[in-house]
């Protein structure tokens, strides 16, 4: 296979979990709630998928459990942020710290145990002859196809439906949304929970496809990279796809450089995604210094109807 094709395949493989997490983050933040729990949610998603799959051997049950667990964590986050109006940053950190600890606790017994799953792949051999991209699309797994559909669905949802209009209002100006009869609290709950479930799915995706063995802290900061990706993508699902794949490439870049027999220590190569994240954020900060960044205006602010005391 050509190098471009190989690189693209790697980008998609490593980028899809990031994409799910980023989409989940976009959903949360568009509704005005910061989600810093991504790392913990991904780990909980991964460990839940691992345990359920080992217990039942069923992929669909595993995914169902992942949805359940991450939605429950999302519910807690929503309760703290929406109902109690707690600091969303601290609440997100709590989700991450709890998720990290709890996943380690739950996964202790299965740590290092290979899963041996096969996620179904959609075989489309008639695509094979198309140059460069043909071989990629001919043999993609279910998660990747779902992510494609999700990107388009979310884009259409946000820009072409009444609920999407509500969602945009929710993050920019909840007081207005409220006056217009949109149930701010209810919808914020909904989006936080669905967003959390998507981030959990990202963890499951990583475990079931990308590296099918549970190891404590296996996401290695990818949840946090997804938090940054939401900013890179400027809260736009289509852009999120490209950003996630770009970081997918970075993720595998170190490994590839190593294969070429370079004598750069692997530790430095592994730093690439983290360092690039910071550099890109700095570049965006510099470029957008005089412009609005596209951040939902009410992001991080709890909404209370009776605001006078």
């Amino acid at each position: 296979m050509e190098l471009t094709t190989q690189l693209l395949i790697a980008a998609i493989a490593a980028g899809t979990p990031l994409l799910f997490a980023t989409l989940g983050g976009i959903m949360n933040e568009r509704a005005g709630i910061i989600q810093l729990g991504a790392e913990g949610l991904m780990l909980m998603g991964a460990v839940t998928a691992c345990l359920t799959y080992l217990q039942t051997g069923s992929l669909s049950l595993a995914l169902l459990a992942v949805f359940g667990v991450s939605a429950a964590l999302g519910l807690i986050h929503a309760f703290l942020c929406v109902t109690l109006r707690a600091n969303q940053i601290v609440s997100g950190l709590a989700v991450t710290l709890f998720g990290t600890g709890f996943s380690a606790y739950l996964g202790k017994s299965v740590s290092g145990q290979p899963l041996g799953t096969t996620v179904p792949r959609l075989q489309l051999p008639w695509l094979e002859p198309i140059p460069v991209i043909g071989p990629i699309f001919a043999n993609l797994n279910l998660f990747t196809w779902v992510s494609f559909v999700l990107v388009i669905a979310m884009h259409v949802f946000i820009h072409r439906t009444s609920w999407g209009l509500h969602l945009r209002a929710l993050g920019d100006n909840p007081a207005t949304a409220d006056v217009m009869g949109i149930r701010v609290q209810l919808f914020r709950y909904g989006y936080v929970i669905v967003g959390a479930a998507l981030i959990g799915l990202a963890g499951a995706n990583m475990l079931l496809v990308y590296s099918p063995t549970w190891i404590e802290g296996m996401t290695a900061g990818r949840g946090w990279i997804a938090v940054a990706l939401v900013i890179f993508a400027r809260w736009n699902p289509i852009r999120a796809l490209f950003c996630a794949y770009f970081f997918g490439v970075l993720d595998t870049l170190g490994f590839r450089i190593q294969l070429t027999g370079s004598d750069i220590p692997p530790y430095f190569l592994k730093m690439i995604p983290y360092v690039v994240t910071i550099l890109v954020l700095m570049f965006l900060g510099w470029r957008n210094r005089n412009k609005p960044s596209g951040t939902p205006e009410a992001l991080g602010q709890p909404y209370i109807r009776e605001q006078r005391f």
Binding site: A86, V90, I278, M282
Partner: protein, 371 residues
């Protein structure tokens, strides 16, 4: 007639002039309760223990036995107590570091990386000047540990002040970078040639180690930590600079109007915040492990975040909560023999933070009847 609940009875007594409402409760912010009461940290710890008891029970064990074992492991013997204090030292220093940053609303979650940077900085002194006497080595290690940690803190502050980059993501990313750098050194150039491939430097000599108390492992780092706490207390309370920090923390817009250069303060505070975590890293290698090695921190930097929150950034609170979490780590180790993973303590930590923020917010509400 059935006895009505008081509020409902009152509502019906108002008769037709009062608006008829369903009997329901509602949470409302109470303006008179602007700060959370002192008991929420205690309550949150208790509730977190209760929640984790459920998980332990599901695991097929008696939670009371487990907790008793944890308590005796951490506080039941002089060995346990000194071990707990040994763990409390880095927590106290890192917790103080992040607390100072939180004072001016800088979300430094990079204490883990700053800790590792400090450990590396201190070890570099030993690697490059192996034969200095103790009177020179220890202060040099302290200075370099502090500078390395402070430098790592600045790496978070600079993107924030000059490029407007959110410090949360930067500081977290830098944790991974620092830990990878540490891996590079202990697996690579600094690895002990006689160490049977153990990922760590050669053991430090007597002159390169912090003095300890008697036969225990309790080292001079405790004094560093207590001095730091005292300085923090005095600075915030009595100095001009402390006043400026309080002002920025209370209202950064108003601070700007008072002519305070906030960016300058962010840089200084992150230098200090990282420097304190750096001291913790130095004290850990020089006082406890006596070598730089793989996995030197069991997540002190992350636990420190919870330590600082549980303490509500209060100096005395920091001491109490760091000892508590030190005990939690030691207790976590001691239940491993019962077949429970030691990660039970990190699970407890996360749960404590959950209950703490929920409790803090709930205590500001009051229950109101009526729709």
């Amino acid at each position: 007639m059935r006895q009505l609940p008081a509020t409902e009875a009152a509502a019906s007594q108002r008769g037709t002039s009062g608006m008829k409402r369903r009997f329901s409760f509602r949470l409302e912010l109470d303006p008179s309760r602007s700060s959370a009461p002192w008991w929420t940290p205690i309550l949150s710890v208790a509730l977190a223990l209760l929640l984790c008891a459920v998980f332990i029970a599901i695991n097929g064990m008696n939670p009371i036995t487990v907790y008793m074992r944890m308590v005796t492991g951490a506080f039941g013997s002089s060995f346990g107590i000194t071990e707990t204090l040994v763990k409390a030292i880095p927590l106290l220093l890192c917790g103080l570091g992040v607390a100072i940053a939180y004072r001016i609303s800088i979300w430094n979650i990079g204490a883990e990386g700053q800790f590792a940077a400090g450990a590396m900085g201190a070890t570099a002194v030993i690697i490059y000047f192996p034969d200095l006497p103790a009177v020179l080595t220890i202060p040099l290690m302290l200075v370099f540990g502090m500078l390395a940690g402070g430098f790592w803190g600045l790496l978070t502050a600079i993107p924030r002040t000059y490029f407007g980059v959110n410090e949360l993501i930067t500081s977290l990313m830098l944790n991974y970078v620092a830990l990878l750098a540490l891996d590079y050194f202990v697996f690579g150039p600094w690895k002990d040639p006689q160490g049977f491939n153990f990922p760590g430097t050669p053991m430090f000599t007597e002159a390169q180690s912090l003095p300890v108390l008697g036969t225990t492992r309790l080292h001079l780092g405790l004094v560093f930590a207590l001095i730091a706490i005292l300085l923090y207390f005095l600075t915030i309370r009595y100095t001009k600079w402390g006043y400026e920090l309080r002002l920025i923390g209370a209202n950064s817009n108003a601070a700007k109007n008072a002519g305070i250069n906030i960016n300058k303060h962010i840089l200084i505070v992150m230098l200090i915040s990282g420097g304190l975590a750096g001291i913790a890293g130095m004290a850990e290698v020089s006082g406890v492990t006596h070598r730089l090695m793989y996995g030197i921190s069991p997540g002190y930097g992350y636990t420190a975040i919870i330590v600082a929150w549980l303490a509500k950034l209060n100096p005395l609170g920091l001491i109490v909560s760091s000892v508590l979490f030190g005990g939690l780590i030691v207790g976590g180790y001691s239940v491993q023999t019962m077949g429970l993973p030691s990660s039970i303590s990190s699970m407890l930590q996360g749960a404590i933070l959950f209950f703490l923020i929920a409790g803090d917010m709930l205590s500001k509400f009051r229950l109101r009847s009526g729709g």
